[in-house]
């Protein structure tokens, strides 16, 4: 009898199959592993039934907060997910398939990715998209590497408005590579044009910006992109895709490479993953792009079909000379994003973005009416903004947890001298009543 439900062979099957392969026992199958390498000492609990395992997991889930009113964003947002996204992406035909190496047996996945690529190109105002990367941070690293490959240069200028979470990741990734990068401090909450222009030279391969930036500020970066192009550098963007329901696209600003975190498009927060890195670019740069790409083609009868294409860029062909080491990506997350965008549709995405922006606009007015609270930057914003409080923001957040509120993210951890600054995000799931309650509790805890 099997210990689990995961192996289905009966004792009779086992005996007959062992006989068929001329083995006396299971140990016989492993004689190539030297005896001194073999062990059965595994300090792992005994197997549990499904019922017991799920009881354990429910118990653990109950140890996490489930009734917090959340205003914490910082690049990862608590958006509403239509029920159809879970139900459709939960179809085993999608999630128990693998990378579509055999296109005739994977047209469902391939067509969906082709459609996803279309969504992302249209959303960002670019021409082509890849099939996904791991997350927003790794996508930005890959975008920078792509710009450096294209320009043949090794210097990078990066705005400090780019998520500090991504920038700490970039430090880790570039440690062993001969890439120099310089971070340009913000000027009044936006990219410092004068500083960028002073640093731009023929050695710079990539200028890296984020819109809206980490503090939620919106900018029209057209002039900065033009300045980058003026010295032959590429403009690499990181964007919050849901904001593009309203916000000017990187494509319209002249971007060469657009990356971002796709979590806002139908993915649960799930304590940090799985998320969705995306990347779009112009057709002329596509051969430098990392990751899988799906293209449309035809069979012999002229029927339209989809395949993984431009594979000569990839690791399984090019090995150490590949554009990236990526293999498995985030296909199911891309599929969910495509389902989300299909359900929201052309007007729905505008409405969600407008709803978030309107709640944030109300909240900013309401919160800044509190004595001692002021906006950190006087800049336009989408659904997130920073407030300077009269005391340490971490202390305030800590106090509000007792009131069932995650009030925001204190940015002092990443920006020295900004210990009193709190970053607050507003999604369509928040209500006027919740914002009023936040204001009341904030006022009571300053």
């Amino acid at each position: 009898m099997s210990h689990t439900n995961f192996c289905v062979a009966s004792e009779q099957d086992k005996a007959e199959m062992l006989k068929a392969v001329k083995a006396k026992s299971f140990d016989d199958l492993f004689v190539d592993i030297p005896a001194e390498f073999q062990t059965d000492a595994f300090n792992i609990p005994e197997g549990r039934s499904e019922l017991e395992a799920l009881q354990t997991l429910r118990g653990l889930a109950a140890k996490n907060a489930t009734n917090l009113t959340n205003f914490c964003g910082a690049g990862y947002y608590d958006h509403f997910i239509p029920a159809a996204v879970d139900s459709l992406s939960g179809r085993g035909e999608f999630y128990t398939a693998y990378t579509p190496y055999q296109p005739e047996a994977a047209q469902g996945t391939l067509q969906a990715i082709y459609e996803y690529q279309t969504d992302m190109a249209r959303l960002t105002g670019m021409e082509v998209s890849n099939a996904s990367l791991y997350d927003g941070g790794t996508a930005l690293f890959e975008g920078i590497m792509m710009a450096l490959r294209t320009t043949g240069r090794d210097k990078v200028l990066i705005d400090e408005g780019v998520s500090p979470i991504y920038r700490t990741m970039l430090r880790c990734y570039t440690r062993n590579l001969s890439i120099q990068y310089e971070e340009i401090p913000l000027a009044k909450g936006l990219a410092d044009r004068a500083a960028f222009k002073q640093k731009l030279s023929k050695e710079i391969g990539a200028v890296v910006v984020q819109n809206p930036n980490f503090f939620g500020s919106l900018d029209d970066l057209t002039d900065l992109v033009a300045a980058a192009h003026g010295v032959g550098a590429q403009a690499v963007f990181s964007v919050y895709p849901l904001s593009l329901g309203l916000v000017k696209t990187p494509g319209a600003m002249g971007a060469d490479i657009v990356t971002g975190e796709g979590q806002s498009l139908g993915l649960p927060l799930s304590f940090g993953g799985p998320y969705l890195g995306f990347m779009t670019t112009l057709k002329k740069f596509v051969r430098k792009m990392p990751g899988r790409i799906v293209g449309a083609t035809q069979d012999e009868q002229g029927r339209r079909g989809y395949v993984l294409t431009l594979q000569a860029r990839e690791q399984h062909i090019r090995r150490e000379k590949a554009t990236s080491n990526i293999c498995t990506n985030e296909a199911l997350c891309a599929l969910r994003a495509h389902m989300y965008l299909s359900l929201l549709g052309k007007q729905g995405l505008v409405d969600v973005a407008q709803c978030c922006a309107s709640l944030a606009a109300y909240a900013r007015e309401r919160l800044c009416a509190i004595r001692g609270v002021r906006p950190t930057f006087e800049q336009p914003f989408f659904n997130e903004f920073a407030l300077t409080l009269p005391r340490d923001a971490s202390d305030v957040v800590s106090a509000l947890i007792d009131h069932g509120i995650a009030a925001g993210f204190p940015v002092g951890r990443y920006y020295k001298g900004m210990e009193n600054v709190l970053l607050l995000a507003f999604t369509e799931k928040r209500t006027k009543e919740e914002i009023d309650l936040l204001a009341a509790r904030l006022e009571g805890n300053l």
């Binding site: 689990t4 995961f6 289905v8 199958l29 592993i33 030297p34 390498f37 005994e46 197997g47 354990t56 429910r58 889930a61 140890k63 996490n64 907060a65 179809r91 035909e93 999608f94 128990t96 398939a97 693998y98 990378t99 190496y101 296109p103 994977a106 469902g108 969504d119 249209r122 082509v128 099939a131 990741m169 990734y173 440690r175 309203l246 000017k248 696209t249 649960p268 799930s270 304590f271 940090g272 799985p274 596509v286 449309a296 083609t297 069979d299 029927r303 690791q315 399984h316 150490e320 590949a322 997350c333 299909s342 052309k346 407008q354 944030a360 957040v397 995650a406 204190p410 369509e428 006027k432």
Partner: protein
Amino acid sequence: MKLIYEKSVPGRRAIRLPALKILPAAKIDKRLLRDEPADLPELAEVDVVRHFTALSRLNFSVDTHFYPLGSCTMKYNPKACETAASLPGLADVHPLWPQLRRGGLLTQGALQIVYETERMLSEITGMAECTLQPLAGSHGELTGVMLMAAYHRDRGNKKTHIIVPDSAHGTNPASAAIAGYEVVSIPSNPDGTLNVETFKKALNSETAGVMLTCPSTLGVFVSNVKEIADAVHAVDGLMYYDGANLNAILGRCKPGEIGFDVCHLNLHKTFSTPHGGGGPGSGPVGVVEKLRPYLPISRVVKTKDGTFSLDYDAPKSIGYIAPFYGNFGIIVRAYAYLLMLGREGLRETSNMAVLNANYVQEKLRPYFDAVAAGRCMHECVFSGSRFGAHGIHTLDIAKGLIDRGIHPPTIYFPLNVPEAIMVEPTESESRETLDEFIEIMIELAEKAKTHPDELHAAPVTAPVGRLDEVAAVKNMDLAYCGE
């Protein structure tokens, strides 16, 4: 099938939001806004549901078909693991909560899952500690090689290259290159194991380490691994274990006890998390004691009072390889799987995975050229060369399988086997399924000789026939542009 864009009807809607009531609409300066909405499809919910349901039915998947894709370990994915990952107390947790002051209180359950999964994986691999941050197998490889680089930098070692056998997965050399190392590729033995003579010629004081897949990509255990490890350690190099094939030795052998210093695992292979049509995966990395200081931050630690918290105090750490704690939703599934599998299930898994592969190999040996003269491990590799005389290639056999309702095995990998066919049945398949597969393979071998044209025409039952991949590259139609 029509694209979703071709089904769009202007003005049609699926989702409506609650009315904003009292609030005025935000007024953002026009110069900061897009001129027109993104041209997304406009459909009713039922249209969207039918579109994706129809698409799903064009796929082969583990839930619908036998899927013996070699090296990918397409085992059955228990449904309870899906239920676990979608529990509201897990799916709705913001990753920054534990980083707020007193925020650890908000996420004790999530931190405990990460901590206990790390402990179990460390135990299974015989490693001192493990990080769950890497987001896929190749990301784990990159992390592992970066840990090696950090170790050598810290020790003041001058190391320039990593040795990788040519039978390795392409991600090995690609990861080594991104970690800043030259890749020295050495030819393998015919069974995919390391050739000790060429290896020793390539090894010198500038060798940062060796990346090995064990069992090899040809399904053969590298029995001289100790000798290799001793030679590598003698130059203060490090042994990297590619865990793609861990399913073969699960519950029987610990990489950390046979000379390896760092290893990555694929939760979507060995630990039964779904492959998702190409991700999300998860690629935890385990290390021996001497590499512990370099592990990515943050680390989940258990404090004296039994609570869990995040620790950032690791000055020698390579830093942040992922934004947070890894692909948590995938980790939860693997944790649930491990709870159910238990200690006794570990060895049962490798026993049945290896028995199933050997059973297929022996039954097919008369009809296809098995690469291994004797036993294989959890997968078996054949060459389809003998059908060349009839103008039949491995690709034709693969397409013939599609017509018979079986997902093709991995083909043309490993690269050093001509016309390779790599079959990995996994432990979760029944003998009846294997017998059916064997019967079909024998039939295809016969067909290759008697009716090669039928195989050339395959697949005929799929939604499309063989697609023109050359035209796909030439035309570069990568997004729908309308009529």
